[in-house]
Amino acid sequence: MKSCINKVGLFVFVLALFTSCSEDVSEDYVDLPDLENRLLAGGDTTIFLTSSNAFSTPAANLNGSDLDMHLDGDFQFEAAFVTAPADVNEGIGPIFNNTSCISCHPKDGRAPFPDNLNSLSGFFLRSSIPGQDVNGGPVPAPGFGLQIQNQAIFGYEPEAKFQVNYTTIVETLADGTEITLQKPDYTLIDTYVAAPSNILLSPRLAPPVFGLGLLEAIPESEILMYQDVDDIDQDGISGKANYVFDVVSGTTQIGRFGWKANTATILEQCAGAYLHDMGITNSLFSQETGFGQTNGSDGLADDPELTEEILNQVVFYCQTLAVPAPRDIEDDSVRRGAQLFEDLQCASCHVPSMTTSSNTISAISNQTIYAYSDMLLHDMGEGLADNRPDYLANGSEWKTRPLWGIGLTQVVNGHTDFLHDGRAKNITEAILWHGGEAENAKSMFKDLTTDQREDLLNFVNSL
């Protein structure tokens, strides 16, 4: 009798799972994916905010001393630097792109594409000339380095100003909707010296900085499981890890950060940003970004301008920002969208889940996360190509962007400018920019019915 009740109970439960909401379910997808287990997108770091603070909150599981360190980093992340010598925050420039971390990563989120390309913003151009340096990385453009600084302290000349022109691409969807994409073409004007004629330029817009510690803690072996350089499984999608020179260890390491995965660690990413974005020398990079250039030296023997303590605080801050939870995961449209996300092979690169290994920071140790990235490089086609190689990333390869939090971009940052330079003005446009390995996925997206497309967008916006 007892066992019979148990069976009945189980039966009811199973029935409920399979039949609930059946009247809402589209005929194609009777078994909608259960997204409940993806609620903790950042594992135990996850926070449940839907406000403008959704990207800028400490991990929910930080212990007391880690929270103190995080808050110190928060303070430094907002610090604006000024011309040296000064009592507080000295050392900006002489050439730079912006004056604080937060000014490029507003609310720890995504910078908007600037109305004025030469105002202070989260936008800049990377630069190099063809070839590889001794470590396999890009060769700095003579006189300009690896990044164009379009600002300078008073009395100094910026390396250049930026200019953009657009050509139009029209995409037509199956239901007749026409989407007009603007393809940007960037050039340098007002250069302080003539730029090399073979200079390679690639645009960048500052991405969100939450969840980075979790991405750093994913075991290399787990990332490599998804690698399929020669497309042996013949699904049209390869996936390749970037291997880059790591300044700290002096060795080659898997690249995880940056739009082309050209940086191995958050430490190097932060130290590089201090130097190249702000002109703040530090323990990793002790020479001014314009060293040897006529506009590059401040003439002061004050390097490194940043203390080791502050650098470590900011690194820790970026490692320990919480990931916001997805919303509406029980919504049928969102669940149908999740199924489409699988069916269209979006999930082949935007791999939903990975697991972190144990880490010195306990908050990010051994967490199952839902970042929606395989951390690998993919050929994204001619439309997105920057034709500027960066280590193993060729001129048309980009790292799969994590999608977590993407639906909160509007409320946090007041815009939806996506992709590496913000050329996509919403998620639909971002999908339509996909090509290369994602060409097939894009075609299937274009063939969706209006309702299906809405389901897919609802899913992406639930993240």
Partner: protein
């Protein structure tokens, strides 16, 4: 057997009805019985408190520009008028720091008007250059424009500047900086104004399509988080850094409005920003605020919050003399003010926030 199958399917139906379907439809169709209260609160706060605070900011920035335009070398009373106009403009800005979301952030206005520290070298280099000093010239120099740059010109590094010490170039710079501040505050005010950028509509229409807030509760959470953030900033940043920033000792250079000795007023106005949002009051208009939501079900918490707000303002105002002096010579009074703000922070963070989240 038949009977039991029917029984089973009945249970199944009722289970299904109670679980998975409910969320999807309930959120859009069932309305919170207090939705009309939330609606009044969100409307009053966004239009009558927030937008109106920015209106004051812009209006007073216009007066500051005029005052700067009237200033001549050696005219001490005109300099006093500029100081007063700066303080009048500073007050609504500080009273707006409890709501640093929307255009003030997404349009980059906060760094453009309230960057700190001031880049004294940049200012000196601009002054000694041959450039005409205009509002446009200052656009790419966040640390050499805005409130603190104007403050630097009007009060000087030691707070004792006289009109006779002013130079022609400084006057040119001052006028340009006040023009720039005026245009930025106009952009901010217009960003919220219903007839312009209408950011306020996100609150007025929260939960409806077109609003960035998918629910009224979400909009209320944004507002309450804003209160927590500024209470935290005052207690653990603005007071803490100058008081203890030098290994537990005073760090005077970390004080924000030290040229003008306006810091105490800045801090008190930050707390008044919390008060205005909590009560729904601004400039003589008594509207609905967060209090109207809290008092529906928890009058004890409501009283606790209003009491903590008043105590924090009182304690800040009770610091004797200037803040610069007090962090050295009246540390107990500063510590007391910090404690009262921290107590306010605790009630906002640990009681009000879960209350709103639980609506």
């Amino acid at each position: 057997m038949k009977k039991s199958t029917l029984f089973l399917s009945l249970i199944t139906l009722s289970l299904a009805g109670f679980t998975s379907c409910s969320d999807n439809d309930a959120s859009s169709e069932t309305t919170d019985p207090n939705a009309s209260v939330y609606s009044e609160v969100l409307t009053d706060l966004s239009i009558d408190v927030i937008t109106e605070t920015y209106n004051s900011l812009y209006t007073n920035a216009v007066a500051l520009e005029t005052a700067a335009g009237n200033l001549t070398i050696g005219d001490e009373s005109a300099l006093d008028a500029v100081k007063t106009a700066w303080q009048n403009t500073r007050a609504p800005w500080e009273k707006s720091e409890g709501f640093l979301y929307g255009p003030v952030d997404t349009d980059g206005i906060d760094p453009a008007i309230d960057s700190w520290p001031v880049d004294v070298n940049a200012i000196d280099n601009i002054l000694s250059s041959n450039n005409e000093i205009t509002s446009t010239l200052l656009e790419s120099n966040n640390e050499a424009r805005g409130f603190h740059t104007i403050e630097y010109f009007v009060w000087g590094l030691e707070g004792n500047k006289t009109a006779s010490e002013l130079t022609t170039r400084e006057l040119e710079y001052l006028v340009a900086a006040t023009q720039n501040l005026k245009s930025k505050t106009q952009e901010l005010y217009y960003g919220w104004l219903s007839s312009e950028g209408d950011f306020a509509s996100n609150f007025v229409n929260a939960g409806e399509s077109g609003s960035i807030y998918t629910s009224q509760k979400g909009a209320l959470e944004e507002i309450v988080e804003g209160l927590v953030i500024i209470a935290d900033e005052v207690a653990n940043g603005k007071i803490e850094e100058p008081l203890n920033g030098n290994n537990g000792g005073p760090k005077p250079e970390a004080e924000e409005s030290r040229f003008s000795n306006n810091s105490k007023l800045d801090f008190a106005n930050n707390i008044r920003s919390i008060q205005n949002i909590y009560l729904g009051d601004y400039n003589g208009n008594n509207g609905n605020g967060i209090t109207n939501v809290v008092a529906l079900t928890n009058t004890t918490l409501d009283t606790e919050i209003t009491t903590a707000i008043s105590a924090a303002i009182l304690a800040i105002e009770a610091i004797p003399g200037t803040f610069t002096d007090a962090i050295v010579n009246n540390r107990t009074a500063v510590e007391n003010a910090q404690t009262k703000v921290a107590e306010l922070l605790v009630v906002l963070e640990s009681d009000l926030t879960p209350f709103i989240t639980g609506l």
